[in-house]
Amino acid sequence: MRTGVPGKPSTFGAAQGRPVISSLAYHVSRHDVPQHATNRLAMSDSEHGLLATTRYVPRLRLERSEMLAQHRWMAPGLRGLAKGRRAIASWDEDSVTMAVEAGRQLRAALPDLDARELTFASTTLPFAERLNAGIVAAALGLAPQAVLRDVTSSARAALTELASALRRDLQDPSSRLVLAAERRIARPASAQEMIFGDGAAGAVVGRGRPVATWVASASTHADLVDHFRSAGESHDYGWEERWVRDEGYLKIAVGTLRRCLDEAGASAADIGHFAMPAPLARINEAVARKLGVASGALVSAAHESVGDLGGAQPLAMLDVALRAAAPGALVLVAAFGSGCDALLLRRTDVPCPGAAPDDGRAETSYLRYLSYTNQIDLEWGMRAEMDNKTALTAAWRDHARAARFEGGRCERCGTVQFPRSALCVNPACRGQDSQQPTSLADVPARVLSHTSDFLAYTPNPPFQFGHIDFEGGGRVLMEFADTDVDELRVGLPLRMVYRIKDFDRQRGFRRYFWKATPDRVAIARAAAQPAEEARATATQAPLDPAQADVSTTGAN
């Protein structure tokens, strides 16, 4: 949609001259929700339900005040939205990579997770043809027989899938993974640019010890076009939000939510947590009021710290709600878009596994954001002209290498090596065809050497890379991601993240690989135990007496 055309104020997203959205009334959810009379607190170990939820929020959080500072001259009305920060994906993150991170968090939360199905929901899938869920599944190392699907085109797609998975109480023990991620790019100076956030969320449905169980769900389809984005277009075009509120949310959403409550035989007053993404001002409040849901039950949309995650927002808000909900509490989730989905769950007494996202790092350069999103074409010099054509034959031949960070572990000598090869790299072994596949994706590592290179082209200078050593063996020359310029040091603890390696802009392709990022949890833990850290650093010093001897004997 176009904004900033004098005399033609568009309401959806227009911000010039007047506060379109004076404040977004997002509320912190209440912790002291009265428990419903029919609580079932004691869960068996093999009940069907929601086993885990998660949110992944990229590290960078763009200060909205900095966005406003750039737009104030033509869109002073954005002031009302310019509070806090919004999450922005780094240059090497997209919906696929963020979904991978959400999936990995779920697997860390449920180590025995054996996902038989993966559904990936996003309206910003990087590939129109090529199964995006397939990229995610390969990075997660899902079994080849897992059933995968991409769902898209609506911000409610993920909730449709989640409700459907929860509704099908299948008896088999395998799990279903629903991941949603979004990296929406709004036109500069639009309200959406302020409101949107980048990130992912996910949920696991299956048998086990659920954190919540299905109570009821309802769905309505309605081709009410509040906004749209045609294939190939970058930005949304939207209609007046007062109409969207009155005809959309207050009729279609309210109707769907009522049907859901009716199916459960529940009263709106029983709802402890009401999670409804509402990027428009106070709509969730109005919907709650009309339904009869207590205003204190409104779940925070994390506007001031993250922003609206689009297709990932219903699952993200569900995660917020479940972490706050007391055992037995009823959690009502809604998602609006070309209709509405509603899902009613009951919280169990099983603790929510995994952690909530951290506060990330403040980003104050709006220009950096514009560049990361390709909305401004900066002078990158001739080094950026390199042709990054991918040989698809080679990519498939070595698929697991890049997708799953698959190296080899020699069965004869135990040496872990990357890439995996026919001959063992250990000169004392030289075993042939002795290497079993092993993934380094979840193995902790440390910096052996590093640099911050200002000559190489990268969308985020300097280009930081170095040799890293994996715990238990394995050495790889790798790029670093989400690293500050002065943060790298020899021995720094690292973990791996799945990222875009290169863009091939000539052909519209992108290739992915793993990068190393500081393991800030491990670093903080080590900082809390200074003595232990000192020992770890001492053992890390890469001294090898055998090699040291060569320097003297080699001289003779």
Partner: protein, 401 residues
């Protein structure tokens, strides 16, 4: 039992073009400039040359494939010619091919020529390029300074050095090479610099600054080789300079993928150096080598090579550097011609340029930078990155030395 080529091959003549940003010269012009000097030095007709080895690294950037460009540029009379490439060690590879052919008795007189026309890219530094379709899927597209900067971080950590101290030693390396380059009329960079200039320069790849990096140059260098007997016969009045060793070591992925390497040394330099010393009968490099031209693509590379080649004890390189051991007036002058740092680095030519300096020094033709007496000199030529590379070491000296 084979034991190298010590004193089996003599250098009959050498030539080296002026190195630098030779905007007005193509690769043909550079080759001919070096060749004319060598041919005059050898005092033979071109028809005496029976075979040639042609070194060029980034052929897609300049001459294209095959040894044809050499044959054309020099109008060689349809003799055998072979193009060789081993990254930045290409020049020594050309020398090795030619020398081994003479040592084998296959030819009497051969040519080794290396050339690189780099300054046609439109930007500074080495050209960016693919690492191969399979490697591009995962390997960082590292620049040379970024790759060699790794050495500095690992070396400092290994020896518990503050980066400030290491940078001071690195600065000394560059100041020394600029001082030497200033005395070399063929050098690319002839300005003198101070330690302060080095430390205050812009960072290229931390901790390497601008003055820690060598020049990217156009140039060519060549050698005409023969047997010592023929050399004496053809030039009875001249000192016969022979090759004592040309040895090569190539990484097999161990440094890159096995956890034994400390990241702070060049494993192949140790291997190639040890073999060359064995071949040349050298047991005390610091005492028996009179000068060295090493692959100082970056200041830190030169520093760690002092240990890898046995000139400094482990961990002592920066002390020796700061004590001036490798200065032109030191106990073991390193890069008396300015090195890659200041003579310049036209990739395919560099290995031969190193030999050229030893050859000139032995003959007492090094002008203002002439050393006292050089009986034996060492060249070390490195292609690739510290963790994955080719190292070539040659030892050249007076016949019988």
């Amino acid at each position: 039992m084979a034991h190298g080529i010590r004193d089996k091959v003599a250098i009959l003549g050498m030539g080296c073009s002026r190195f630098g940003e030779r905007w007005d010269c193509g690769a043909d012009d550079l080759m001919l400039e070096a060749f004319n000097e060598a041919l005059a030095d050898a005092a033979i007709e071109v028809g005496r040359i029976e075979a040639a080895w042609f070194g060029v690294c980034l052929e897609e950037n300049n001459v294209g494939k095959t040894a044809g460009p050499l044959a054309q540029a020099l109008r060689l009379p349809r003799i055998a010619a072979t193009r060789v490439e081993n990254a930045c060690a290409t020049g020594t590879e050309a020398l090795r091919g030619a020398a081994y052919a003479v040592a084998a008795g296959a030819y009497d007189i051969v040519l080794a020529l290396g050339v690189e026309k780099l300054k046609d890219t439109g930007y500074g530094g080495l050209p960016v390029r693919t690492r191969g379709v399979a490697n591009d899927l995962w390997l960082p597209n590292a620049t040379a300074p970024g790759a060699f900067a790794q050495l500095a971080s690992a070396y400092a950590a290994k020896h518990r050095l503050g980066m400030k101290d290491l940078k001071r030693a690195m600065a000394h390396v560059s100041v020394k090479s600029h001082a030497n380059g200033a005395l070399n009329p063929k050098a690319h960079l002839r300005n003198r610099i101070t330690e302060d200039d080095v430390l205050k320069a812009a960072t290229i790849a931390a901790p390497l600054g601008l003055y820690d990096c060598c020049g990217v140059s156009d140039g060519a260098a060549c050698a005409i080789l023969t047997t010592p007997e023929l050399a004496r016969a053809l030039r009875p009045d001249a000192e016969v300079v022979t090759i004592k060793a040309v040895e090569l070591s190539v990484s097999n992925g161990e440094e890159a993928s096995f956890s034994a390497w400390d990241g702070a040394h060049i494993a192949t330099a140790r291997e190639a150096g040890a073999r060359a010393y064995a071949s040349a009968g050298i047991t005390d490099p610091r005492g028996q080598i009179d000068m060295a031209e090493v692959h100082d693509c970056f200041s830190i590379t030169e520093a760690v090579l002092m240990e890898d080649l046995g000139f400094s004890a482990p961990g002592r390189a920066i002390h020796d550097v700061l004590d001036g051991v490798f200065d032109r007036d030191g106990a073991l002058p390193v890069q008396p011609d300015g090195g890659l740092k200041c003579f310049g680095h036209p990739i395919g030519a560099s290995g031969l340029r190193m030999v050229y300096e030893i050859y000139q020094q032995i003959h007492g033709r090094a002008g203002e930078r002439q050393l006292k007496r050089v009986d034996r000199g060492l060249t070390h030529n490195l292609g690739g990155h510290p963790h994955q590379n080719v190292c070539a070491v040659s030892i050249v000296g007076r016949h019988g030395a």
